[in-house]
């Protein structure tokens, strides 16, 4: 049905030739944009309702009963549904470690929360299909579990800023919301999110459509294709300092794949961009000493590289 609408719009309303490159690009653009926004609106709303049951305060309560290993797995999974904004990373970190959640478990959460979320899932699903979307979510959770466990094994508690351990954390009594309030929260959240990300989505899909219609064989493949054994490291190295949300990065990833880059390399790039960034390092410096901060970045980058190679090898 969407396809019919896109065809009608591109070939009847605008009157483009269905066989021309421009016609094909416009058709593709209209189809993708409508599809992505339909998916975004419905799924973001549903996830926001689910999210209202998982406040960070409740996540903390769940995790403080679990030790390492099981804790890492739970933390990585809860990271998908718990709302997270990098500006609350500091209070979140302090709240977690103060309530006795092990350091490694806290990191599993901090890694999975920005990297794996509903926007990433929808964008990948809409532009690449559900197989790649689920592959990304699955491998993101695995990276968060493994990197968190590794950090936990290193026993680096003394490299957390000293004041963190002395902080007094109160127990917040946050009132339970009624369903009407949850609905209000969810629709407000959906509107806010769409307002924030729509330019990224439109520009990104536009880029994708352009490539779909025009892109020739590209030299990127020569440098970052399957033949270059260092391609995944290179992609992660470029991705780490960059920051973008999933909405901005997925269309770029699509463009890169359109140019023939292998899936492991582009997914590793996307993970590096969303999970690690320069602004995040600056924020986390408030609670971590340099050594732990560097270890965190190093271990997560290494885990992402390993996952990238596994996909390039097995998919």
């Amino acid at each position: 049905m969407l396809k019919t609408f896109a065809d009608y719009f591109a070939f009847q309303v605008i009157g483009l030739d269905a066989k021309s490159r421009l016609g094909e690009a416009v058709d593709f653009f209209v189809y993708d944009t409508v599809k992505i926004f339909l998916l975004l609106t419905t799924i973001v709303y549903v996830v926001a309702v689910i999210r209202s049951y998982f406040s960070p305060e409740r996540t903390r309560r769940i995790l403080s009963h679990n030790r390492e290993y099981i804790g890492n797995v739970l933390a990585a999974l809860l990271g998908i549904v718990t709302p997270f904004c990098s500006c609350s990373a500091v209070p979140l970190f302090i709240g977690f470690v103060e309530s006795g959640i092990p350091l490694g478990v806290t990191f599993s959460f901090l890694i999975s929360s920005p990297m794996v979320n509903e926007v990433a899932l929808i964008m990948l699903w809409g532009l690449f299909g559900w197989k790649i979307a689920l592959t990304y979510v699955g491998s993101g959770v695995v990276v968060a579990i493994l990197a968190g466990m590794a950090i936990g094994r290193l026993h680096m508690e003394r490299y957390v800023q000293d004041y963190v351990w002395e902080m007094k954390v109160g127990a917040a009594e946050i009132q339970e919301q009624s369903f009407r309030e949850k609905h209000q929260y969810a629709s407000g959240y959906t509107k806010e999110l769409l307002k924030k990300i729509w330019p990224y989505v439109v520009v990104g899909i536009g880029l994708g459509a352009f490539i779909h219609g025009y892109a020739p064989e590209d030299l990127l493949v020569r440098y970052a294709g399957r033949e270059n054994p260092l391609a995944v490291q290179l992609a992660v190295l470029i991705g780490v300092p960059l920051y973008s949300n999933a909405a901005g990065i997925v269309p770029v990833v699509q463009a890169l794949m359109g140019k023939g880059l292998p899936i492991g390399t582009v997914l590793a790039f996307m993970m590096a961009v969303t999970a690690l960034s320069f602004p995040e390092a600056v924020i986390l410096k408030n609670v971590l000493k340099t050594r732990l901060l560097a270890t965190f970045f190093g271990i997560v980058a290494a885990a992402i590289i390993i996952v990238g190679y596994m996909f390039n090898t097995f998919l």
Binding site: R60, S88, A172, Q184, G188
Partner: protein, 76 residues
Amino acid sequence: MKIEVLGTGCAKCKTLYENTKKAVEESGTAAEVLKVEDIPSIMRYGVMSTPALVIDGQVKFSGKVASVVEIMGLLS
């Protein structure tokens, strides 16, 4: 009445602060609105997702930007 807006200084926190001031003004409530930015004070309330709204020492909500109308509901 003492209203505190907790937040580390991100854009959302500023919006909540503005909304709160507007809500106080429009409802004609006698209240002072403070912005709390330092981490120890935020943590004392046990809040982990900012922004959050505290009225007379009680956390009303955290991790969202409430509209002027919603905040007016909390004031009465």
